[in-house]
Symmetry: C2
Subunit: 304 residues, 2 copies
């Protein structure tokens, strides 16, 4: 299987601590990087994780709270100093567009590349990006300001060729791509070997849903139904359920409820309140609802 | 002597690396903190150094390049989330004022304290701040945009009381402050003990000059004459003298030349180009000109 991973660069919430960076993740798929949220210190976090700036072409911002976007201007500025020429695409709520543009105009005169901002509708689930490898959909979330999650869906890959059959029928390498694309193979004596004898089924496409920040949304499970991996914010434990309600955040148990109802493969927890010195209390509460739950942490890399 | 220190939180230049943060320092004097420059990640760097946010009331920005000010908005935002009520004073070039104001308006609605911006004239050496402990003067620097260094001068302290004389003449504790302020002491029998018998001279006031970013300025030595500690940017070694000229930066040898001509106590080097994996080449070049030179590094604390 081709690598499809998420690098956690930050899993803290609004108040950065000595233990956690603010929100930032990098999705890696078929050699390309896609950033989700970009808190302060994102450029250094990327460097520390050994992730290549050159492979990053798209940044998806959930909302305009500082802990999700203060790292953008530093990143854009540094890319300019490094001589970048490739366009950088930023997706995010409309409100942020004007502010970012003003920052770029002020701090990054003579930028050698373009920053193209794509405002997304945070009230709808729709595809906002597509390339050869994947599509990205918005997920409408409910926070104190317009906020969207992002759902990365890998495009279907081709079936696997059966090497034993290639040998058996002495099929030349030049025909492999045709067979992967579904063609039968005709032997020199005219016998047709049907395609299904030559391949095994392709891997099922994987998907990653990023949901931060949001209060508990009963209808969210339907939107992220069956994703391979779900990241759902879990700012609080159940002892702070009222705080979660008040500030439009979720508890770990609520995140796990979404995961269970959506029948996802695994759940990643993050956006931890700085009040928890040990997030295992969050993990335990989540695992009661949905066993395949994991705490994220800086420098963790999860296979999707 | 009362502590008068500088905490180095970042000593890299425009391109942050895994080894260095961008420019940021905190001067500590008589229990208060004063920040100089505020690169991205400043709030986390302060936390990691164990420096109290509550003790910080004044931030001095040299110029509006991102590596000297991208951390400001994160710091201001976090102070708000932590419930700060005390006014925060920011000093810096006029150009930055409007941009910062717009960022604060956009990202920090309902801030529970005021951010007061004091534009400084970057073309003159003049006192821009004064409190009980120190004065701060601007130092006009020559960079690619308006840029000021800052000179912190400790106010004269009181003379030291001679404990042996207190005992000898049985002088009550209530009189110590009067004696420190210069009064003589009259014994019960009417004999006057002159003040100079009761005290030893006060410590000479210390001073710290921060000079970053600037090209080599022959006239700078006169402006920082005799300071206890000089921080002078040393972006390059002599092999990149032409780069230094072109980008209005200095070499380590040039920094040391200023230190030697100004007859300072010691020289701190910083704002290192990311091209040097080992800054000892800079240190050696500086020490040829001025022996009492030191490399700064994150988490270093220097007595001024």
């Amino acid at each position: 299987m081709e690598p499809f991973k998420v690098h956690i660069l930050g899993c803290g919430s609004a108040l950065p601590t000595t233990r956690h960076n603010p929100s930032m993740q990098v999705v890696e798929c078929r050699g390309k990087l896609y950033m989700i949220d970009c808190g302060e210190g994102a450029q250094q976090a990327m460097r520390r994780s050994g992730l290549s700036f050159a492979k990053l072409g798209h940044i998806f911002i959930s909302h305009a709270h500082g802990d999700h976007c203060f790292g953008l201007i530093g990143m854009i500025s540094t890319f300019g100093l490094l001589g970048r020429t490739a366009r950088l695409h930023v997706y995010g709520p409309e409100a942020l567009q004007h502010m970012l543009q003003r920052q770029v105009e002020f701090f990054c005169r003579d930028l050698g590349y373009e920053v193209e901002y794509h405002p997304v509708d945070t009230t709808r689930q729709e595809v906002v990006f597509e390339d050869h490898s994947l599509t990205v959909e918005t997920i409408p979330l409910e926070h104190r300001m317009p906020c969207a999650g992002y759902l990365f869906r890998e495009k279907p890959s081709l079936p696997h060729i059966r090497r034993d059959m290639l040998d058996c029928y002495e099929i030349p390498v030049s025909q492999i791509q045709n067979i992967k694309l579904g063609h039968d193979y005709t032997l020199p004596d005219g016998t047709v070997v049907p395609n299904e004898k030559l391949v095994t089924p392709a891997d099922p496409p994987r998907s990653y849903a990023y949901c931060s920040d949001t209060r508990f949304m009963p209808q969210l499970a339907e939107m992220v139904k069956g994703v391979t991996t779900l990241y759902h914010e879990s700012t609080y434990a159940s002892d702070n359920l009222e705080m979660a309600k008040k500030y439009y955040h979720s508890t770990a148990a609520q995140a796990a409820t979404v995961a269970r109802q959506a029948q996802v493969g695994k759940l990643l927890l993050g956006h931890f309140s700085s009040r928890y010195n040990d997030e295992n209390i969050l993990l335990k509460e989540a695992q009661k609802e949905f066993e395949n739950s994991f705490l994220t942490n800086e420098k963790c890399v999860f296979d999707i």
